[in-house]
Symmetry: C2
Subunit: 96 residues, 2 copies
């Protein structure tokens, strides 16, 4: 088995992993448990990966980071839009 | 500037980005807005990256993916432990 196949499978999983999170927020319209700092750091990291991919001419790194960058951006925009809606001061289930 | 520095900065950001999410869950004990599928896919991807790092003898890839693997595992364990606590059926802010 080609080693690069392992890297490709890895990239497909880590890149597409953000997709179910985008879908979940799209359906629930809730983002309060999601860390804004995480997605800002992920966005910065993705931009650096993209720059790195361009500098080393790696098509796989460029494509993977454009896709994850867009998905991370969606989560960030949703987070700004929906904020902490649904939060209650004591972090307690109101039905409990 | 060395191109590898760009890659290193990228890796530091994307790897450590999970840390604020772990801290947020630790403080709020709430995970309902977090997608389990995302973290399962991220965990699988991280394992493949780790295997890839071992196969190509890249110390940076190995270390980065052990760190993110542990952080992703924390989020998954928290998600299993806290589940959808705090969810209300209509996804509406109870204070609103």
């Amino acid at each position: 088995m080609n080693i690069e196949i392992i890297g490709l499978i890895a990239a497909v999983f880590t890149t597409s992993s953000f997709f179910p999170q985008v879908v979940k927020i799209w359906n629930t319209k809730q983002t309060k448990d999601i860390s804004t700092t995480m997605y800002i750091a992920m966005m910065i990291g993705t931009c650096f990966w993209l720059a790195y991919g361009i500098l080393i001419n790696s098509f796989a790194i460029i494509v993977a980071n454009i896709v994850s960058g867009l998905l991370v951006l969606f989560v960030l925009v949703f987070k700004i839009f929906y904020g902490n809606k649904g939060e209650n001061k004591y972090g307690v289930d109101p039905k409990a």
